[in-house]
């Protein structure tokens, strides 16, 4: 059942992203100001959305559920870890696509802008999280510390989100949906952007399903190896 759902999700993602590519590259018109550079904006905001809110959000919620005594299970730890791992990839993609767009627009690959810097700091936090997991062998200790660390890093998301309002540096504010609720993007451009958001979100869940399944198998193998090693030692002792 799980395998079938995963396959269905994979195909849906592939179709959604393929349609996004076709619409983004051939159907939508060039922007009046940015020209063809606007096509990068069909993927950059969607990738950032997955990195900061969907993926990192899933990691934070799962970490919270792990720490909550009633919902504590290693499955929650696994979901949190895998979501964080995917978030690292998406944060890197966010910075790379932003940088490619920034070079012709702002004239630099990197600017000490509030949103860029705070996003990069979140990326460093996530790499630190992966290092923290590798530093502890005990499964329970690792899960507990990782969950606490994840919750501590969650404060970064509102900082990143509101950084464009609080500091007013180079990165533009909300472009698609403004604070007053009015839309700034219309027609095929809006459709392509929405498709991109849905496509990358389903891509995240497809990755998550696959990654959690892999991690569960890896944990089961480790437990199996430990059990067989213990059994072997026991036999040696008896013999």
């Amino acid at each position: 059942m799980m395998r079938r759902s995963s396959r269905w999700l994979g195909w849906t993602t592939a179709v959604l992203l393929a349609v996004t590519v076709v619409m983004g590259l051939w159907i939508t018109p060039p922007d009046q100001v940015q020209g063809n550079l606007v096509r990068l904006l069909y993927i950059h905001p969607a990738i950032a959305w997955v990195a900061l809110y969907v993926s990192f959000g899933t990691a934070v919620v799962a970490a919270g559920l792990y720490l909550w005594p009633r919902t504590r299970s290693l499955e929650m730890d696994r979901v949190s870890y895998c979501a964080m791992e995917i978030s690292v990839v998406f944060i890197a993609l966010t910075l790379v696509t932003g940088s490619i767009w920034g070079r012709p627009t702002w004239g630099v690959w990197w600017a000490w802008d509030a949103r860029l810097t705070s996003t990069a700091i979140l990326g460093v936090f996530e790499v630190a999280y992966l290092a923290l997991r590798r530093a502890n062998d005990d499964v329970e200790v690792r899960a507990r510390r990782s969950a606490v660390f994840t919750l501590l890093t969650a404060i970064n998301v509102p900082i990143i989100h509101f950084s464009v309002i609080w500091w007013k540096t180079l990165h533009q504010g909300a472009s698609v949906l403004t604070a007053t609720g009015s839309l700034n993007v219309h027609g095929t451009m809006l459709t392509t952007m929405l498709l991109s958001f849905v496509g990358f979100t389903t891509l995240f869940f497809w990755f998550l399903f696959r990654r959690v399944a892999l991690e569960s198998r890896r944990d089961a193998r480790r437990t199996g190896e430990l059990d067989s090693a213990l059994e072997m030692r026991r036999r040696e002792g008896v013999g």
């Binding site: 720490l67 700091i121 979140l122 460093v124 936090f125 790499v127 630190a128 290092a131 923290l132 590798r134 530093a135 502890n136 062998d137 005990d138 329970e140 200790v141 507990r144 510390r145 606490v148 660390f149 919750l151 501590l152 890093t153 404060i155 900082i159 609080w166």
Partner: protein, 219 residues
């Protein structure tokens, strides 16, 4: 909880007082870092006080890291944490006590570094006095955050290298807020928004520490 905090803080401070590690190792390191930071910029730029707040907080950050490292090493001897656990102390009290001891130690070092900045980086004495409250609160946040991150790295592999990796991103907003508030105290400008960030961070770290320190110490 308060009684436990007071006991733990007194214990940590007494160990520091007797061992003199802060005095003979960390303080010279702090001053040397300040001089080296000035040298790295060159005599002209180090003398211009516009870079002084940033240099001051960069040195504070590295000193804070070594003090946090030192605070964790007090419990690194085999069996120490296990025997402390059997005492049945309130973990929230232990967290507050360790944070308090760290804060007092960092306040002392921060004061020395501010005097060093007046001497080596030519910041105005009156500006340094005006900056004291904001420096004190920022160092308080670094202590509480450092106590939590220190507990996260205890017992694992490579705690000495892991601690900076976990702590530095958390200290980054404090570095910015501290540098801006020190600049505002020295050269004028809006102080309140940086104060808000630092105070919110202090409340958040104290609340998180009180809530989760027990979970971390179970490890």
């Amino acid at each position: 909880m308060i009684r436990t905090a007071w006991l733990v803080a007194r214990k940590d401070l007494r160990i520091e007082f007797r061992s003199r590690v802060l005095l003979w190792q960390v303080t010279p390191f702090a001053l040397l870092s300040l001089v080296l930071a000035g040298l790295a910029l060159g005599p002209d730029k180090a003398g211009s006080s516009s870079s002084a707040p940033g240099l001051f907080y960069l040195v504070v950050l590295f000193v804070a890291l070594s003090v946090v490292q030192r605070s964790r090493s007090l419990e690194s001897a085999p069996g120490t944490r296990a025997s402390v656990a059997t005492l049945g102390l309130d973990p929230a009290g232990v967290f507050l006590g360790k944070s308090l001891a760290l804060t007092l130690e960092l306040w002392g070092l921060g004061l020395i570094l501010l005097i060093g900045s007046v001497l080596f980086l030519h910041i105005a004495l009156i500006g340094a006095v005006k900056a004291l409250p904001s420096v004190a609160v920022t160092l308080g946040v670094m202590s509480t955050a450092g106590t939590i991150y220190g507990a996260l790295t205890t017992g694992g592999e490579g705690p000495v290298t892991l601690l900076p990796l976990l702590t530095l991103p958390a200290f980054a907003p404090l570095l910015v807020a501290g540098e801006r508030s020190l600049s505002a105290a020295l050269y004028g400008g809006a102080l309140w928004e940086w104060w808000v960030i630092v105070v919110v961070a202090l409340v958040a770290y104290v609340a998180v520490g009180v809530a989760v320190y027990g979970v971390l110490e179970e490890s």
